[in-house]
């Protein structure tokens, strides 16, 4: 039966090619949007694993509502079960670009810089030391973008800093981090003793979720985000992002599916008499279904393969181009390729379902009378 399917497709070359291109375009969109989502997912997963052991303490008014006074650190430290606590100041590096590049200034107490970044390791140099003021540790992407080495000078907010350490590549937000001493950051950005949030490290054998609640109750004017809550929150934002990206890809693919359905309906209408002949010579309903569904599914398969090849190619080209701006936006994973292929096949088969049903239900006598 497969040879008949191939023959029907190749018999109407231009129409079949256009239909296959329609599906390919949809699958291309699924691949590109999906690759963006996969990259975001990977960054999120890695960032979570890097900061998963700490409780974040914010001002009650929220992270955008204003800073938290540095003296709250000692209040947090007094809560039973807190092993360590320190404030961090976080701000965007490139204010003129509204933080779109994802680069962040992280003001960290120098003596806590290694624990705050744990388990991120250094590629070169050292973490910040007590007494450092205009020293900076940079993430891997920052290092590559500005061509920095240990000892290089790096300008931040009109001040020159000396690069003392370079972080290993993590695939997380720390690749775009610029880490400077907390007090220097507070001076630089004129925020007094404010910090963005406090990292509270729970004692071993202390339940982080319980401790998080305890801190919130004990330290006035704060709200906390436990590792569990952070994960839920981050997952929600990730879901929203994924839904937006994937659904725009899916929309394109569904348009491709309608393209197949249109082609198949035309093809079935044109071949009405042919189906009548097939039925008269003894074709079963399942034979007709197999022929029409097979044709639609095979076009889905070809469109899927073409869409994946072009999509993967485009992602590589875009990533190579974005490399110059040190942004990695797309990530192709085996999971994404499988989803795209299955989706292409499903679209082909589902779009062929109605035309196939129509073909199989034709009365042979009526079909034979068809001009």
């Amino acid at each position: 039966m497969f040879d008949l399917i191939i023959r029907n497709i190749t018999n109407r070359k231009v129409r079949s090619a256009l239909t296959i291109c329609g599906i390919a375009l949809g699958i291309f969109a699924v691949i590109v949007m999906g690759a963006m989502s996969e990259n975001f997912h990977q960054t999120f997963e890695r960032s979570m694993s890097v900061t998963s052991d700490k409780i974040r303490v914010f001002a009650e008014s929220g992270v955008f509502g204003g800073g938290l006074e540095d003296d709250k650190v000692s209040d947090v430290l007094r809560v039973a079960g807190v092993k360590d606590a320190y404030g961090l100041l976080m701000t965007t590096f490139d204010e003129d670009k509204m933080g779109m590049t994802g680069k962040q200034i992280l003001g960290v107490p120098p003596e806590k810089s290694s624990v705050a970044l744990n388990p991120v390791e250094l590629k070169a140099g050292r973490f910040l030391n007590p007494g450092d003021s205009y020293s900076v540790v940079v993430g891997n992407n920052i290092k590559r973008e500005y061509g920095l080495q240990v000892g290089s000078k790096f300008e931040i907010h009109d001040k020159y800093f000396t690069v003392v350490g370079i972080l290993d590549y993590t695939g997380s937000i720390f690749d775009n981090a610029v880490i400077i001493p907390l007090e220097t950051a507070q001076d630089l950005y004129n925020v007094g003793d404010s910090v963005s949030y406090i990292f509270a490290v729970p004692d071993e054998r202390v339940d982080a979720e319980m401790l998080s609640k305890r801190i919130e109750l004990s330290v006035k004017g704060t709200s906390t985000l436990s590792p569990g809550e952070l994960e839920v929150q981050a997952k929600q934002s990730f879901m929203i992002f994924s839904v937006i990206t994937i659904s725009s890809g899916l929309l394109a693919a569904i348009i491709g599916g309608l393209c197949v359905m249109n082609t198949m309906l035309m093809s079935v209408a044109e071949r009405t008499r042919e189906f009548g002949i097939l039925k008269a010579i003894g074709a079963e309903t399942r034979d007709i279904l197999l022929l029409t569904l097979g044709e639609a599914s095979f076009m889905g398969l070809l469109g899927g393969i073409l869409g994946i090849i072009v999509g993967v190619g485009a992602v590589y080209i875009m990533n190579a181009w974005l490399e110059t701006t040190r942004i990695v936006l797309f990530l192709i994973t085996p999971r994404l390729l499988i989803i795209a292929m299955v989706f292409a096949l499903l679209i082909g088969a589902l779009s062929g379902l109605y035309p196939a049903y129509r073909a199989s239900k034709m009365s042979p006598m009526e079909a034979l009378k068809h001009a």
């Binding site: 029907n8 002949i277 034979d287």
Partner: protein, 238 residues
Amino acid sequence: MSAEKSGTDGHKDGQKVIMKVENLSKTYIRGKIPVHALRCACITVRKGEFLAIMGPSGSGKSTLLALIGTLEKATDGKIILDGTDLTSVPEKLLPRVRREKIGFIFQHYNLIPTLSALENVELAMRFSRVPKKDRRDRAKTLLEDLGLGDRLNHKPTELSGGEQQRVSIARALANRPALILADEPTGEVDSKTRDSIVRIFKELSEKGQTILVVTHDPEVAKECSRALQITDGLIKDN
């Protein structure tokens, strides 16, 4: 009715009844008016008979063919073909009946334009799940027997009307049916081709193949072992 009169002697199964049509009727409803396309038709056909059904347009001969071919459902009556009552076969099993018991030949040949002569003949056997080699061999033999040995790989558009009709005959014979139904098989061809097609039918009939032909052409009817006249849905024996 001429059911008892056999015109097929000369072979040992000549007397065996292969099909019996009993009180077969078909009524269509056009708007609210019933149209009686066929009324109480009774025919008995013996194995190896070459039977003609003649009649003017709209007389009900094509309806009779469609009913025997299970392409339409009868309003009343019975068709017993090769021991099976076709009117009581469930819809789902009709394709099997068409494959195993009936071979169709159409006025406009009705070959699949994208397939070669050989593939068109094979097609009928595909649906019977005949293994590829066996169906290829049989299709080749049938076409060679019908003088199309050098046209096996030609598409229908590359064949003459007579050649296309011979491919159509080969396709009808592919599954060794009990009955061949031919609807105006010579309607589209010249007299020379018509004569050669009739000759093929006669030879097949002599070999024991039962053939029922619907025709306008008295020249075709003349060559048949028996001819029945149909007028206004009523069958009369000539």
